[in-house]
Amino acid sequence: MIKRINQLSIGNSIFIMTMLIVGLSMMAFSIISYRIIFSRTDDLIESTSKEINKQVILNYESYLSNVIDSSNALQKYIADLTKTNQIEELNSVFETTSSLDKNIRTVALFDNLGNVVSISSEGVLSDEIRSKDWFQNAIDLKDIHHFSSPHIEDIFDSSTKEVFTISKFIQYYKNGVQTNGVLAIDIDTEDFKTLATMTNLGTEGHIVITDEKRELIYSSESLCSDDTCESVQVMNDLIIGGALIKINHLNMYVNVNTIKYTRWNIATFINVDEITNTKFDMLLTIMIVFGATMIIIALTSAALSKRITGPLNKLENHIKKIEQGDFDSMITLSGQYEVVLLSQAFNSMSEQIRELMNRVMKEQREKRKTQFIALQNQINPHFLYNTLDSIVWLSENKRNADVEKAIIALSKFFRMSISGEDTLVNLRDEIEHVSNYLLIQQIRYHNSFHFDFEIQEEALDCKVLKFSLQPLVENAITHGLLPEESYCHISIRGYLKDNYVYLEVQNEGYGISSDRIDEIQKIFKGAIQSTSIGLRNIYQRLTLYYGKNADMFIESELDEYTKVTIKMPIDRGEIK
């Protein structure tokens, strides 16, 4: 792993590290803010829902407490009035009570057998009062008010009104004797139901009321009509308390509580879909911000790493160039300050290297020059010896005029030879030099050869290697002159062709075989050691000076001629 990290490029390291740090911190930030916002939203939902639930319960409690207050007041009247046997009076109290409170439909007092003692309104009474649940419950559990489920009023046979009955065991006096009975109050369910719609619980928000056996008493939602409905199940799971649930794909906050005075449970189902959706939107926003930030960071860090690594890559390419020997080009980098500094340092380094190399090259050239001069000097004793030999011969034959001519030519020849250390001379000077030489040689060989010059006018001012022509002529004389024949012709030609100066020296004679040509060429190229120095010397000097641009070759036709040509680049004298 660490190895892999070490192998990463700077750019990738910067990129990965930046993404890692920013990604992790952004993630932490997102999670924290998400959780804070969520818990706040949840708290808000919970507290709001609880407030609404409380309000709904308070509505019901105040509604029911009115009924219980009425009941308590009635109990006192019943005790008081039956004691003094004022049953008529009691009837009117009951009537007044039911007329004052429009919710109270009927008030009735029954004895413990279910016979009516007093009742608020006329009607055909049911003869099965004793078997009614509300009656039995009151007898069974004496000290509390019993609240029945909504039902069609059953005190009377013919009623169609829906009521719930509040029943309570009481003691009253029958003919001065305390006796047991049941007070029943029938409450119209209309207001009870209106209460449920008074609070806005949102779409499909509803109220469900169950009794102590957790059986459905009332639901404001028509979908929930029996104990098996989802809302009742939820209620029975919770028993008391609040929870966020889903009913019919809607987010609801349910609060289950008890209603005071009764044994009822009440649940408010409040639609919190909108708030929950806000939560989702918030999550989405956080994710978008997270994503956008990551993209921006990715782009920025990529740009930054490119700013650093781009110039470094350029530098790397530049170094490769230098590896290949190009010290001349300079590198200018823009970008990160440190990289710019680096490139400047690199430039001054490569400049120093170049200077060092130039110095080495110069030294090398000096060395070569010394070698060159030494080679050049090799010619002279050889020639001087031969010439002086010829002059001795002329003088022995008393050809004084020829001696004079020869000595003048020799002196001119040497003057040129010793004039300066220039490597190059104009072809014109080289031609003159060769003329002097030929004069000397003609004297030496008793005019046994002729020569002619065919030089292009344009070629005359070209620079050629000093003393390059003379050895060729010398070679032509040495190998071209035949002892039997008294006459030989040497042609010297100079012309320009294809940016090269060509100098040809051709002599008539036997010519040489092509095998011999190969051998000679090997000799002057130094492949075969030989004592013959003339041609090899020229070839070495040519290649030393011009490199591969210069060449020398031999053509020959047996019994016809031998021609030696040298070729060198045109140089009109502008060189340093």
Binding site: K50, N53, K54, I57, I68, D69, N72, Q75, K76, A79, L141, D143, I144, H145, Q171, E212, I239, I240, G241, G242, V256, N257, T258, K260, Y261, T262, R263, N265
Partner: protein
């Protein structure tokens, strides 16, 4: 160094775990004098290795339900509840059953059928009926102990005790029981009782003052005894009675001398400090001591047993029906004044 670090971490963890257990105590209303007094008795009685944390339900069953939900969420294994509405106890019992928390109800008794919903539910309290019977005994003693020959306290000498009753909240279990059984007991003992009026004063001192005013207006010259469902109402009644010179501290010594100064018998229930003080000053005739000290001790002992899963066989109090711990009331009359 590493060892020290581990030790510190261990201590921190261990320190957190060994924090004393907390038992929530849900009081129906801390504005109730009796309950406030009772709560502090419970706290004082707690010498155990747990802390009792009191929640004031402000006389709202909704708030009590919220607190219950909250403490159950904290996984409290035991909760002491003084219910706001005893009819709502069934929901609280079922809720606790859901999490397996045990409940000790105090002061207000849930319906027996609700108590049967769950095994681990207990009630520590006094029997309202007993308090009424003891109150009746005080009255019987006052009138000479012979139902057929009442003493001088039968002012009109008709052989019938004329009484007014100050009743607690209508429908309140204790109010209903005390009101019913005090008369029942007297009648069972063959005393003739005429209840002139039952005034409802919600166990409240101030309401009792007002109610007494109306009773005086209506039956000012008829009642021979004032029966209050609790001491607070008795004290409130005494205030009004004093204003109307039923009590007259003629020598202004702060004490009613029953032999020389006018007074009328008022009996209460609970044995509040102010009631004892009033009694010592010759005003209140008698009260029935609701032995809240024993009750508090019983609650703490039971809590300790339930919290630590100890055997109920070692419990110092009698358990009836394996759920009920009844603490006896005591008559308290100061005859020495």
């Amino acid at each position: 160094m590493k060892k020290a670090l581990i030790l510190i971490m261990f201590l921190l963890l261990f320190g957190c775990q060994t924090r004393v257990p907390v038992i929530p105590l849900l009081i129906y209303d801390m504005n109730d004098d009796y309950m406030r007094d009772f709560e502090s008795r419970i706290q004082e009685a707690n010498l155990m290795n747990f802390r009792i944390e009191t929640y004031d339900c402000q006389n709202s069953q909704i708030i009590q339900n919220e607190y219950l939900e909250e403490v159950l969420k904290k996984d409290n294994p035991l909760i002491i509840i003084n219910p706001v509405d005893r009819l709502s106890a069934h929901a609280m019992i079922e809720k606790a059953k859901q999490t397996g928390a045990k409940i000790i109800f105090i002061n207000r008794e849930p319906l027996p059928e609700d108590m049967d919903l769950y095994d681990s539910v207990y009630y520590v309290g006094a029997d309202a009926k007993q308090s009424a019977e003891l109150q009746a005994e005080i009255i019987m003693d006052l009138f000479g102990g012979n139902p057929y020959s009442l003493n001088e306290f039968d002012l009109n000498s008709d052989g019938v005790i004329q009484a007014v009753i100050l009743k607690g909240e209508q429908g309140h279990q204790d109010a209903e029981a005390r009101t019913k059984y005090v008369i029942d007991e007297l009648e069972n003992e063959h005393y003739q009782v005429e209840v002139l009026d039952i005034a409802i004063a919600n166990f409240d001192m101030d309401l009792a003052e007002i109610a007494m005013n109306q009773l005086i207006e209506e039956y000012g010259d008829q009642f021979e005894v004032v029966i209050a469902n609790n001491d607070a109402m008795a004290i409130g009644a005494i205030k009004t009675l004093t204003e109307h010179q039923y009590f007259d501290d003629m020598d202004m010594n702060g004490v009613i001398d029953r032999d020389t100064e006018p007074w009328i018998p008022v009996v209460g229930i609970d044995g509040l400090d102010i009631a004892i003080e009033s009694m010592n000053n010759g005003y209140l005739y008698g009260t029935v001591l609701n032995d809240s000290q024993s009750m508090a001790e019983a609650i703490v002992e039971l809590a300790n047993i339930l919290l630590n899963n100890l055997s109920l066989d070692d419990f110092s109090y009698v358990i009836t029906d394996s759920k009920y711990i009844w603490i006896d009331y005591q008559k308290f009359v100061n005859d020495s004044v």
